[in-house]
Structures are given as C-alpha cells and as structure tokens.
Symmetry: C2
Subunit: 354 residues, 2 copies
C-alpha cells in the first residue's frame, strides 16, 4: 500500500481565501495527451482598423461619440453600463427575516480602459513602459472613483480573447465600481481578517514566504511581486500574483511597485502566450482594499488570472456539470502547471520569430 | 423621482439556498436586440453511427470494451473516472490550524448513463415512457451507490451540447458519487437546515407555494413538481424544478413522482429547445439528500438547469471578468425569462415540422 501522495491520488485542496475546496484528480493527467500542439495563430491583425470602435479617432459602438486620437491609454464610461449612478434607493424583503424574495437597489459606475492605440497588440506583447501607462491609469481610476460618495469598491479586470467573452480584439480592460463590496472580494476580506485575528500574521504574506521557500509552485517574481500557481488553483493554469509584503491597495503604491506590476503583468501573460503558442485567453482581476475605508488593516493587493485552456490552443477545460452543480475539479496538479509555466520563455513567440 | 422597481433598476438579489447575491441590470435589457434569430440547426444526425463510442454494440473510447446491444438505458463506469474507489487515506495540513496547504484524500465512483440507444435524440425529443427509463436508472444508481460504504453523496448531472463541454452527442448523463458531500450541495443543506431551525417550515416548500401563488416566475408544473425561473437566477434562462412538498431523495419516490419527473424533464427541455429553435445547451444537476444518512430532515429534491444561451442559438452569456472575480451578473430579469419560457410550446420544433 503506497501512502497518500497528492501528486498521485485523488484529493481535495482547500482555498484559504474563500474557504472552499477543489477536487484534484492527478491520476487522470496520465491519460494519453489527446489535444495536439496547435499551429501559431496567423498573425495578420492590422495595427489600425477604422471599424474598431475602441480605436483612436474612431466612432464608438453607439455611433454618436468619437474617441480622441489617444497615444497610450484612454479611459471612458462604458456605453452599456451594468450599473448606474442614479438608481433610486429601495429594497424588497429582508434576509434577516428569512424572506425568500430579497432585492436591494445598487449604484455604480463602469469604465473601459484601452491599453494601447494599437489593435494588434496584447498585454503579453506590450513593453514594460507601455504597461506602466496602464498601471498609472488603474491607479488614477482607483483614486478618482473612490472619491465618489456612492462608491464602496472598485473592481479592475480584463477579459482577454473571444473565449472569455471579449467581443472586441482591441486591448482593453474594464473597471466596475459599485456601491457595495461584491461577493468574491467580500469573502476574501472576511477570510483574511479571520486569519489575522487568529494568528496575528497576514495570510498572503505567510503564503508568499512559504511558496518562495518551496519554489514548487512559483512561476516568476520580482522585488515586489510573486507569481505562483496557487496550491488551490481551479483553472488549469490559474496564476495568483501577490505583493510579497502586504500592501492594501494602489493608494500605497510607489514608483517601484508600479514599475514591478507592469513587469510581472507582462511576464506572466508572455509565458501564457508561449505555453501553447497562442494569444492565451484569460480573465484577470485585481483584489485590493475596498474604497469605503473598510479592510485597510487586512486587505492585501493581489491579481488572479483565470485562463480556460487545458492542453492546447483549442482544448479547454469546461466548468460545467459536476463543477457547476457540486464542486470545482481539475486533473493537472498546481505543481505540474507551475513547472510548465516556469519552463516558458519571457520573450514572446511573435518577437522571437522576428 | 420614480421609486425603486426591480423590473427597471439595477439591484442585487439574494439566493437563500446559497446565501450569495447576483447583480441584475434590467435597464440593459432595453439595448437593441443585437443577436438575430437563428435558423433551425440542420437535422441530419444519424440514428446510429459505428464510431459513436456510447452506441449499442460499439467499442468504447479505450477500444477494449464493447457496449451491449442495449434497448433503452445503459449504465457503466466512466472510462476516465475523476475519482477512484481505492485511494489510500491521508491528509496534508489542517484547516482548523489555519494551515495554508490543506489537502485530503477522497474516494468515489463515476458512472455514465446512456439515455437511449439512438444517437439522434435529446431529452427534449424523447417520450415520457423513454424518459421514465432514465428516471428508473437514476433511482437504481442512487440506491446501489448509497450502499457502498465509502460513498457519502451521489451527484447526478447532464451536460448537454458541445458548448457545455459535452464531447459526445450521444444522449447521456453522468453520476459522480463521492466519499464527501461536495461544496454546492453541502452549502444548500446548511442553508435549508438553518431556515428550518429558525422558521419551523421548509424553505423550498415555502418558496414553491409563494411562486405558485404569484405565477410570475412559473414555467410549468405537474402534480409533483413546479418549474420556475428562480428569483435569484444567475444564468439567463436558469430553471429550478422542485417537488412542491418536501421529498428528501429518490428513496421516497413512488410511481407518481417518477412519472412526473420524466414529464417535467421533457417539458422544461422541450421549451428550451423551442425558445431559440435549437438543441439548447445546459448543465442539469439534481440536489437531494446525501447517502451518508445526514440531512434527511431538511433535504428537498430539486433540479437545477444552468443554460448559457442569452439571445439566440449562437449568442451566449459569458461568466467571465466581473462574474468570476467579483459577483454573478445578468441583464434579463428572472420574470422576463420566465414569461418567454412560458410562451414556448411543449411540442418540439422537430416534431412540429413533421
Ligand atoms: O466527463 P466528460 O464528459 O468528458 O467532461 C465534461 O464533464 C465533466 C464533469 O462535469 C467536466 O469535468 C469536464 O470539464 C467536461 O468537459
Ligand atoms: O462588457 P463586455 O466586454 O461587453 O462583456 C463581457 O464582460 C462582462 C463583464 O465581465 C460580462 O458581463 C459579459 O458577459 C462579457 O461578455
């Protein structure tokens, strides 16, 4: 009888940020590799397209507004915002009474951030100075939105690739600011606070130092940040980027942190693209302190990358059936995924070809 | 100033089964209808294909086993099980100590259930007597698996359509039984128990009677079951099917319940197919009492349908970005979705053409 080994045997792993578990089936990774290695995508995207409604000088989707002739980044209000600034207050039902119909009015502001005037680049292909402009825009937006009295939280994210619901290939991200702290960041803050109150230390500081020491799940790092495939990863090549020392939010970022964020953003996404020689799709999101003043003593700046690809540019993991109805599941272990990402170059395949 | 109206204004709704919220943006449903009505899919699927590895008499995916020449349903062990019956016991870390690396060995058994020998039918196109055989197979599997000493929970589900990760068009579902109660059903059981201990009544009985009275979110019903788009639906056309009176599990199903389940399964999926005149993709899963003896006093048999389509056979809702990183979001309200499903015929478009 061999003893339990999480590199070999089916098991569950616990995510201390959410308190939830993921089922890991490492024995299935021994299946014959069915997905074939794909050809690099044909790379004839134009740098500029007059029909690109996020392009500089072009008309937007509603036809009435024109974008300025911007040179680096450009931020504007989403043309179809999911949140509005002037929703009347009100509510139906009360959860504390166990009412079954509970609804509450919310407010917010949704922004779009174009990363570059060029249509034919992605974060992975951008330079650190160009990405530094993106970081600066995030820092600005976070500061500006937090001054609005009806905003409690600022969610910065990027959907990359049509597989991740992105309908416009122009490199861009979104910023949804809201009058409440949404589910996922609220849960994380509660778990960070619980850990600190019990242990007296900070969860992600302890985790970063554990991972740096072990090295097994590390993808890359710089002075400020550590990128790992977290022990509890759900998506096949999920990556968690965290500051090694706790920094609550952009508010406390200095020059070094901003520069290092641009650096790690490029390096992680470049490794992604090189993994299957494709423009690797993902959703990225930043968790940091809410802007309503709460959580300052426990919030810890981190970024999640949730990419769907599993075996090749066209073979993805589906979060369906058992995953939706019962529990998240993966085959490849976090350690295997990290080893593969560590082996990837930080020179983009499109640049290597030149 | 108009007062808050959840048919008009952005708001959050609470799911009492999970305790989580969904952001609803009804004002966005007023956007011009961008997706066009699709043509019915060309319907030239053969009834039998020698390369269909779930077909009667055919070789399975591993090439060594042959399926019997089955006439209605056929159940077998998944050829690539995510769980094994003989994992050695063991664990790493302890969540009660706030350890950051926590893993625990698990066991289980994964089964596949072919719904019909015919390749060219789906649940929506099957007859009630044929679906009754599927229900009987579920009841049998639930009973047999619950007798295995290492099984605590039996998760029955169906992934329909390639959009939902289903790689084989042969009508089939899966049954993953496990040595622990997975996240989602465990959370639901805890919420059902909390409600009952506070109110003395059963959450889903109260909810079913509320919805029957209002009618606003009802899709269809029969003697035993009520199908609604739940107030807290996340997926555009999500449907919850529950027994009107609490029945913990298949163990307490009689003739009437089995017959009625076959009936409602057909009627809900048929309405789905007719909505966009397509073979409507979804993940379906059944929540009922665990098989380890717990939860018998609160468990309430129900089925979830999580379908991704939003506007047409090809325009889907993506659960990405804000949804993955912050909170579930929808545009269409549950009431609008229910009205559209109520307007659909229960005669399948393929039969109507004949
Ligand atoms: O077992 P299948 O049909 O190959 O796979 C499908 O269902 C499973 C259970 O929901 C998922 O884990 C897979 O991602 C999905 O593609
Ligand atoms: O706003 P977009 O880019 O049109 O839409 C995309 O991102 C949103 C925020 O994650 C999602 O709600 C949509 O489902 C997705 O397609």
């Amino acid at each position: 009888d061999s003893p339990f080994d999480y590199a070999e045997h089916p098991h569950r792993r616990r995510n201390p940020l959410t308190g939830t578990y993921v089922l890991v089936s490492p024995h299935r990774a021994k299946r014959p590799w069915q997905g074939s290695q794909e050809e690099p995508p044909s790379d004839n995207r134009p740098e500029y397209d007059p029909d690109d409604y996020l392009g500089p000088g072009n008309s937007r989707v509603n036809g009435t507004v024109k974008n300025p002739d911007y040179k680096d980044t450009f931020v504007f209000d989403n043309d179809f915002q999911a949140l509005l600034s002037d929703t009347p207050d009100g509510a139906v039902g009360n959860p504390d009474n166990d009412d079954l119909l509970v609804a509450r009015a919310v407010k917010g502001k949704c922004r779009v951030l174009c990363f570059s005037p060029k249509l034919n680049v992605t974060v992975a292909e951008m330079s650190v100075p160009a990405l530094r402009k993106v970081v600066d825009a995030w820092v600005d937006e976070y500061a500006t939105l937090s001054k609005l009295d009806y905003i409690a939280h600022v969610q910065i994210f990027e959907n990359k690739g049509s597989m991740m619901g992105c309908s416009n290939a122009h490199p861009h991200g979104q910023i949804w600011s809201s009058s409440w702290i949404p589910e996922a960041p609220a849960t994380v803050l509660a778990n960070l606070a619980g850990y600190t109150s019990r242990k007296g230390t900070h969860l992600l500081e302890d985790y970063a130092s554990l991972e740096e020491k072990s090295g097994e799940r590390v993808v890359c790092s710089n002075t400020t940040f550590l990128a790992v495939v977290p022990f509890w990863a759900v998506w096949p090549f999920e990556v968690l980027v965290m500051t090694k020392k706790r920094i609550p939010s952009f508010e406390s970022f200095g020059e070094q942190e901003k520069e290092d964020l641009a650096d790690i953003y490029r390096r992680v996404t470049c490794r992604y693209d090189n993994l299957f020689t494709t423009l690797f799709p993902y959703s990225m999101g930043i968790h940091q302190a809410p802007t309503d003043g709460t959580g300052q003593d426990v919030a810890h700046f981190h970024m999640h990358f949730y990419p769907p690809l599993l075996r090749s540019a066209t073979v993805r993991k589906f979060m369906v059936g058992f995953e939706l109805l019962a529990e998240a599941q993966r085959d490849l272990t976090a350690e295997q995924a990290a080893a593969r990402l560590r082996a990837c170059s930080e020179v983009h395949f499109n640049d290597a070809k030149k």
